[in-house]
Every structure is written in C-alpha cells, then in structure tokens.
C-alpha cells in the first residue's frame, strides 16, 4: 500500500497545490496523520509546507465539510477534500444556506471506505504494525507475522453500507469513481428492532441511551446539525434538562434524530464520534426508511435541488395514523 498511497497522496497534493499556491483558494481542508499511521486529523493547509503533511489513505474518516461553517467566516474561498459522504454533507449544508457554492472548491475523492483500527487489532490478534492493501485484501503485519483479511471486513461501521461512495458534487474528481454500491444491510438492524415488541425495544434503547454523556459529539460532528443555537441549550423554553435521567436521554436522542428527518445524509459521523458507542445511526436510519416508505425515495445530500421531504407535501400523502 505504501507506494500506491504515496502515489495517490501526490496526486491529491498536486491538484490542490496548484489552486492553493496559485491563489485560487485561500485554504485547503484536508487530512494529516495523527500520532499513529492509523489516525488522521483535519489539516488546515495554507502553505506548501502545510501541504507536505497532507494525507489520503484508508483512515481519513473525519468529515471536513463541516469545518466550512467556521472557515468561510475567515476565508473567501476554501478548498475541501470530499469523499462520498463529505460531498453529501456539503450539499446538506448548501441546502441549509450554510455555505455558498461559489466559495468552495470541492476535490472529489471516490472512497473505498475507511478502515477501523479496532477491527485490524481484532483480526490480527494484536497491535498491527503496518498494513498493505491489494485488490480488496489487506495484509496486516503484527509482531508475530502477517494476517490477511478482506478489506470489506475491516471497514468502519459507517462505511459498511455506504451506497454512494463517489462524491455527488465536486469541482474536480481526483480518481476514477467507485460506482454506486448495492447495499443490502442498511436497514437490517432497524428491521430487527422493528420486529421486537414495544417493551423490548424500549428496553434496548433505554440501555443504549443510558450511556449517553451528553457530550454532544454526535451533534457537533453532524452535517445536519448546523443550528447556531441547539434546542438543547435553549433557556426559553428549557426543552432539554441536563440531568442524566432516562427521560432526558430520550428527549435528546429522539429530537436529535427527528431533526434529521429527511436531512440525514447517513454518513454515520454521529455514531463514529460517540465515545460510548451508542447506535445513533439506527435512529437516523429508521427515519430514512420511513420517509422513503411513506413519501417516496429520498437520499439527503444527493441533489440539493430536490425538495427535502419535510419541506413539501402532496395532498394525497399517506399517514402513519388513521385518517378516517
């Protein structure tokens, strides 16, 4: 992987450095490596030296589009590296008037899916030292030798059922597209939960939500959570109390999810960001599934011109309750 990776990073760097150094953009939002090779963090590049740190590998999960909210206050024109989900996030922000299209240059990165370090450890049975990727397979080097695995088995949860790995919007596409993927298990967990009795389901969520720290990482990482003032912090009315009561946990998580109705792009950043691994994505996906069933297929973030389902209606819409 090392060589191929160097090659692809160079390709990205080449594309963006022309624009950054040529003054077409004032800032590039990309990734750089963290403390370890399997970590990445956002890179705010303004110079050639900054671009030296640029990374593009199988560990660039962080969605960069959200940083536009702040960076566009300070910069006239910003370049962003966008994977499939990041591009949908961009469209989401565009639809919410949070960004202006002409202020942003999007460099599209068709995404093979990002890898999960914990899965590498699991698969390798120890701390991996290095990995090599080849044709959908990953060779993991550990102290005691090598372990081979299917790349698909090592993906982050959020990438497993990604239907649109290619950016839906970009100014420049840097690699050849992956093509739309057929996903079969996107709603599997939702369906399993639907099968349960109400009591069981409540028990499930009560337990899962009981871990919530109210750190709001899910919200802060989310491209549909772009409010300046979240209902959580409002004083009048006090929608959300701070206590760690089951009642308050449900209030936050149901409303957070509901606010994503027809808006959630299914990027899974909420769940990835959660320090206590609450299956937030299942709440979001439940709403995606229901909206699709009731009001027609809608994939948030694919087409910013398409009216979000809660902002429109048809007189003959069905309802989830009796209309007699």
């Amino acid at each position: 992987m090392a060589e191929r990776n160097v090659e692809s990073v160079n390709k990205v760097r080449e594309a963006v450095s022309q624009d950054l150094l040529g003054g077409r953009i004032d800032l590039l939002l990309g990734w750089e490596k963290g403390h370890y090779w399997w970590q990445s963090r956002p890179l705010f590049a303004r110079s050639e030296a900054d671009l030296e740190k640029l990374a593009w590998d199988s560990f660039c999960a962080v969605n960069l589009s959200r940083y536009l909210l702040e960076e566009l206050k300070d910069h006239d024109k910003v370049g962003v590296l966008v994977k499939g989900c990041d591009a949908r996030a961009f469209n989401r922000l565009l639809q919410d008037n949070m960004v202006r299209r002409e202020q942003v240059i999007l460099y599209g990165l068709p995404c093979p899916g990002m890898l999960d370090y914990n899965r590498l450890v699991e698969k390798a049975g120890g701390a991996p030292l290095e990995i090599t990727e080849e044709n959908g397979r990953v060779i993991i080097k550990v102290g005691s030798g090598e372990q081979e695995a299917q790349r698909d088995d090592l993906l982050l949860d959020k990438c497993k059922d990604c239907r649109y790995p290619d950016p839906a919007v970009y100014d420049q596409l840097l690699f050849s597209p992956q093509g739309e993927k057929e996903v079969t298990e996107r709603f599997k967990t939702v369906e399993e939960l639907e099968e349960m009795s109400a009591e069981e389901r409540f028990g499930y969520w009560e337990k899962e939500l009981s871990r919530c720290l109210r750190c709001y990482a899910c919200r802060q990482a989310c491209p549909f959570c772009s409010c300046r003032e979240c209902f959580v912090e409002q004083e009048n009315p006090r929608w959300q109390g701070r206590a760690y009561q089951p009642s308050e946990n449900f209030m936050f998580h149901l409303v957070r999810a509901y606010h994503g109705t027809g808006r959630c792009i299914d990027c899974g950043e909420c769940e990835r960001s959660c320090p206590v691994d609450i299956p937030l994505q299942e709440l979001n996906r439940k709403l995606i599934k229901d909206i699709n069933e009731l009001y027609g297929d809608y994939e948030a973030g694919l087409d910013p011109e398409q009216e979000p389902p809660l902002l429109t209606y048809r007189p003959d819409d069905p309802a989830a309750f009796s209309e007699k």
Binding site: R214, C215, S273
Partner: protein, 338 residues
C-alpha cells in the same frame, strides 16, 4: 493483609461486596467498558485497559441532587439530601486514582472543602488495579505514574495467572477484605512483583512547561491548534481530571430539587453570563482554556500538570485533537503563522 481469589470466583466476590452497598466495577456495557455499579448478571471486565469514561464518576457523579424544596402557600421547606453511602470502587487503575488525588486538591484541600465530594470520598473504599498491557494511547509514564501500582488505593489488586491478588493497605482496605470473609484465601505467600509496564512514548518534554506557558496566552499557536476542535465535550467528560459542574433546578412551584451535573468548558454556554456577555465566545478561547487549565493554571496552584496520561482524549476525540498534540504544539513546535 494479603489475600487471593481465583478469577472464576469473582462473581461471588462481587455479590458479597455489593450486598453492603454499591460496588463500582469496570463493566462491559455492550461495546464499551464503563465504571458502573455492579448488579447481578453484569459482566465485569478487569482486563480492559481503561474504561471509556474515567472512575471520577464515583467521587464526582455526573449528576448529584443535593437539595430538595417543597412549597405550600408562603412556606418554603428545604429538605437535605442524604447522598453518600459506603461505596466500593473496585478496579481503579493507577492513572485514574492519581487523577482522583488531583480532584482532592480541588475539592478537599482548599477551604471550604466541598461537602458532597468529601462525603463520597470518605465513604469510598478504593481497590486499585495494576495494569498489565497498555494500549497505544496510554502514556502515564510521562507523568511518573507506575501502571503497576496505585499508591493511594485502600487495596491494591493484581491479576496473575487466573488469580487476583489483593493487598490491603489501609484500615478501610482491611475491612473490605474482611467483609469478603471466606471467599478470599490467604495470600501472604503470593509475590506481588510489579512487572514493568511501558506506556507510549510520545517524546514529550514537560519540564518547565507550565512556567513556560505563563507568557503564551496570546501565542499564535492557539490560532491553529483549536481549528479542528468540533466543540463537543468528549474530552472533558472522559477525562479523569476535569471537574467542572453546573447547577440546575428541576421542579415547579410546589416542589423540586437542585442538582449539580458535569459541565464542559468546551461548550459555548459554559461561560454565558447573565448580561449576555460571553468571555469565551469562540472555540479558540475554549480550547485554550482547557489546555491552559491542564498545563498551566492547575499546575500554578497545585504544582502538577492536570493530566495523568490515561489516553482517553486520544482514544475518544472524534477528530484526534488531544492533549498530546497540544503539549507538542506548545512545547517548542510553534505552528507556522499565517
């Protein structure tokens, strides 16, 4: 006093210890391990390197009601709340226990001390647990912590070949082992040799850092460091040395209660003032506050950096902005100016 118990016998021990009051343990909760009260059927996980959230929950609970009121007509009745009951915190790693000592400095060692904290602290028996294998994020060595020993523990526990070795170091500790009675066997002959545990070496140079930071409030490094921060509260909530809380009321005109709960300096509303002004209006100010607090303000008062190298912020920050990155950025590698 030294005792041993076979690991497979632990559930019996939990049952016995929990009979007298809450027994906090690293418990496997779905995909994560949390420091939580044990109950029948709960799965304790003593092999976990670190719980997702630190053990501070035992001493400074995320939510704590301390006052109830009742009104009728013009009469207001205040009802004190009895909070603290004897608690056992079993399996606290050296880093977390060191962090509790840091909280002590804030809540106990200054006048007036925090009554709620004091009660809980005094009524808690701590069973420390030595670490065997650190994960890549553990870096407590940097702070002179020995992962194999928790000096402040009432009982020190070690895992060894299917056995748990327990050494009581205080009267409270002895009482605890006594409470377990026959479940424990004598362990006077067992050797507790501390195997050396080497945590990650991030190449930090902490020497003189707090002093050095005094003049760096306006340093351009802050202009860069904060940028990736999402503004969530993960780092503060998982951190064992963060201790800020908020006070909120719940109730209505007839009756209600006042409680305190964890708060985070990473939230914009943390410093909202009644008049509408917010001295830390931006993420930069808030990120600076947190790291300055850990690395400069706390040390200035208490003579040590408020970090124990538990690695939780490295593990949990969704964008990998952590204290190691901050220390590095502040330790001489000033980020290039715009």
């Amino acid at each position: 006093m030294k005792k041993v118990i076979a690991r497979e016998k632990l559930p019996e021990l939990w049952k016995s210890l929990a009979a007298k009051g809450p027994l906090f343990l690293p418990i496997q909760e779905g995909p994560v391990v949390l420091f939580q009260p044990w109950s029948e059927g709960a799965e304790a996980n003593l092999d976990a390197v670190n719980t997702a959230v630190s053990a501070k929950d035992v001493f400074l609970p995320r939510e704590e009601t301390y006052l109830q009121y009742r009104c009728s007509g013009n009469q207001l009745e205040l009802i004190p709340v009895e909070n603290a009951e004897p608690v056992i915190a079993f399996g606290v790693h050296p880093c977390d226990l060191k962090a509790v000592e840091m909280l002590d400095k804030v809540y106990l060692d200054q006048e007036p001390s925090d009554e709620l904290y004091r009660q809980r602290r005094e009524k808690t028996t701590v069973v420390g647990l030595s670490c065997r294998e650190p994960d890549p994020f553990c870096f407590c060595n940097e702070f002179g912590i020995n992962p194999a020993d928790a000096p402040g523990a009432d009982v020190m526990a070690h895992l060894k070949n299917g056995l748990v070795l327990l050494e009581a170091r205080t009267d409270k500790g002895k009482a605890l082992l006594d409470q377990a009675g026959d479940l424990l066997q004598d362990g006077s002959d067992e050797k507790f040799e501390a195997a050396e545990v080497k945590t990650a070496d991030f190449g930090l140079n902490l020497e003189g850092l707090p002093e050095n930071l005094k003049e760096r409030f306006e340093d351009p490094v802050w202009d860069e460091l904060y940028k990736s921060c999402l503004g969530c509260g993960v780092c503060t909530y998982v951190c064992p040395t963060c201790y800020c809380f908020d006070v909120e009321d719940f109730g209505h005109e007839g009756e209600g209660q006042r409680f305190r709960c964890w708060d985070s300096c990473m939230y914009g509303h943390f410093t909202d003032m009644a008049g509408g002004h917010n001295p830390r209006a931006g993420r930069k100010e808030r990120v600076r506050q947190r790291f300055m607090h850990k690395l400069q303000y706390y040390p200035e008062t208490f003579n040590e950096i408020a970090c124990v190298g538990c690695g939780r912020c490295l593990r949990s920050c969704p964008v990998n902005l952590d204290i190691v990155q901050a220390i590095k950025a502040l330790g001489g590698e000033t980020v290039e100016q715009r």
